[in-house]
Amino acid sequence: MSTEAPTTPAPHHLGRRLRIGDLGLRTLTAAAALLAILTIGLLVWEVLRGAHESISTFGLGFLTSTDWNAVTNVFGARYLLEGTLVTSFFALVIAVPLSIAIGLFLSELAPKALRAPVGMLVELLAAIPSVVLGLWGIIVLGPFISTHIEPWLDDHLGFIPLFSGYASNVGVLPACLILTIMVVPIVSSISRELFNSVPADLKQGALALGATRWEMVRQVAIPQVSAGLVAATMLGFARAVGEAIAVAQVIGAHNASPFGSLFKPAGTLASWIATQFSGSATSLQRSSLYYLALILLTISLVTNVAAQLIVRRIQKRMGVRV
């Protein structure tokens, strides 16, 4: 380095290094963000282009039509839409309370030594590839459901049409349970982080004022993290809606309404695309599969926007910013 007078050369060299570094950082990070935006844009463009023939043939009636027939070339998404919504909601209904309980246990109630290993085991559930989970669903879960759970449900709750019918290894019920297993690790690890992030002085203040553990959780911890829990639920929902392979293996690939009986086979948007895409008999069928993809993208967009709105409203009500 040069040994000139201390004031003039030092800022000159430092300034040039800073400017190159800054410029590099800005360019690279902007390029990364642009790449993400470009990917989404090209994806949506490709889906729209593929769906064009189906949209112009069926229009919005596609969403209410129940036919899916490659022979007469008539396609409709209603049963698949119902299948997607039923399986995802069912999965959330079971998974979210379960995950909040797991998160609470891991952050508040478990002995300190247990927290890390149990937490890691729950997160390992997320690491299982979905095709392996689907295989387990066919080999283990399906037969277990058809020999033990479905007959029991039919005997005790059979007056409700949803829980009556012939026991089967494949159908809506195994698909719902597989989706539950996939949603739990996501929502539980986020809720554990959320509960850990509640300020300790808030929790201890409540306890000092005489609240029981349960009262502290119910009146301090959960309200504090409710915005985050909503976001976590929406993440879980997105996972459930988009799952194709595992669901395709256990749901039975049948174009029928899931509302008849949980034991019967049905289909979801994602699993239908996965099974039907290769070898579509007609171009209209292929285009209709792109239309299904468009519906899936719209569902994701709507749930994301809804999640953000709910989160913002909760934050406003509580007067805090997460």
């Binding site: 690279l28 593929g50 899916w68 089967s168 174009n255 086979p265 099974t275 070898g279 008999a281 171009s283």
Partner: protein, 355 residues
């Protein structure tokens, strides 16, 4: 040293960009470009994909053809007839295989593809019913009613009438069908449409028909596995699965009132009364009553190749091997009778068109 570390990030970006640029995506669905992807002119390898029906026979050819003086490696992916049609349309493979004729949309998209019969086989109806004997007799109408959902238990009077003396339990029947684009589905529904007008109007013939009832599974291996896991399950798949998995299979009545087993002889008998479709493919299902020994669910399976291919000579050599006496000799032991000589002649004419 401070200056060198600023090079790491741009170098990494350049490496990633080079990696991404190198692998071209060759399966563009709506616009098929010619010559993209893996079909470069490497004439020591032929890549194919498609029908699961013919996969066991192609596996035999793979092993044997490598040992011939031509020494070409054949790689075949049994992704289903539908997948095979998609793959050859996108020219990401050198040949596709399908048991079903190309639909008009598929033929247009494939741009100058020719379908050549290269094997002969049969579809069998397999079932898994605890307490019922093997080789239950079924007519085409009863089979159609089962898959239409009109016959729902194994001790239905219609099945009992065909099998007097057989012990039939009251198990619920679960029809299991192919959920992916399948040439075997085409053959099965082609047969049912021929024997049952109600099936023809309600469901029709297709590689992906909408079955009114039952559950779907992917690929022949999937439907067989699903059937084995379901008491009362019934499905359709190629003959080779019966021996391989010791399955119970049904005897289907042919138009002459006989119940032939799906032997090579019965399948060959069906070829004598094949009817040609407008696109050159041949329909063998539901042979007329005069053909008393014919198995009703026989079918040819086709290899789909583009008329102009960068590997034309290699393809012609392999396909001539496959339809010729050496290739066809592998078939009979595993349930694929040799092609009749008239069909071999027709195939060779079509093969000669590949340039």
């Amino acid at each position: 040293m401070p200056k060198l570390k600023w090079l790491i990030v741009p170098l990494a970006v350049a490496a990633v960009a080079a990696g991404c640029g190198g692998s071209s995506s060759s399966s563009s669905s709506s616009s098929s470009t010619g010559g993209a992807g893996t079909s470069s002119a490497d004439n020591s390898v032929l890549v194919g994909a498609g029908s699961t029906f013919v996969a066991p026979l192609v596996a035999q050819w793979e092993a044997a053809y490598l040992k011939t003086p031509a020494a070409v490696t054949i790689t075949y992916g049994a992704v289903g007839s539908g997948g095979g049609v998609d793959a050859i349309t996108a020219r990401s493979v050198d040949f596709g295989a399908s048991d079903a004729p190309l639909t008009s949309d598929q033929a247009t998209a494939c741009k100058g593809c020719v379908q050549i019969p290269w094997a002969l086989g049969a579809t069998t109806v397999d079932y898994n019913v605890q307490g019922a004997p093997n080789n239950l007799k079924l007519t085409g109408k009863v089979l159609a009613d089962i898959f239409l959902g009109k016959i729902t238990s194994w001790n239905d009077p219609a099945i009992k009438a065909l099998n007097p003396g057989a012990s039939l339990p009251a198990t619920h029947i679960t029809p299991i069908y192919r959920s992916d684009g399948s040439g075997t589905s085409f053959v099965f529904t082609d047969y049912l449409s021929s024997v049952d007008p109600e099936w023809a109007s309600k469901v029709g013939t297709s590689t992906q028909p909408t079955f009114p009832t039952g559950t779907g599974a992917e690929h022949s291996s999937g439907v067989i596995a699903a059937m084995q896991a379901t008491n009362g399950g019934i499905t359709y798949a190629e003959t080779s699965y019966i021996a391989a998995d010791s399955l119970d299979y049904a005897l289907i009545q042919n138009a002459a009132g006989q119940y032939p087993k799906p032997t090579n002889g019965a399948v060959l008998a069906a070829t004598t009364t094949g009817t040609k479709r407008p696109d050159g493919t041949i329909k063998l299902v539901n042979p007329p009553a005069a053909n008393a020994k014919a198995y009703p669910l026989a079918s040819y399976t086709y290899v789909i190749v583009p008329k102009s291919s960068p590997k034309a000579a290699t393809l012609r050599a392999f396909l001539n091997y496959a339809v010729g006496p050496t290739g066809q000799a592998f078939g009979p032991p595993i349930g694929y009778p040799a092609l009749p000589s008239s069909v071999v002649a027709q195939a060779k004419t079509l093969i000669a068109e590949i340039k």
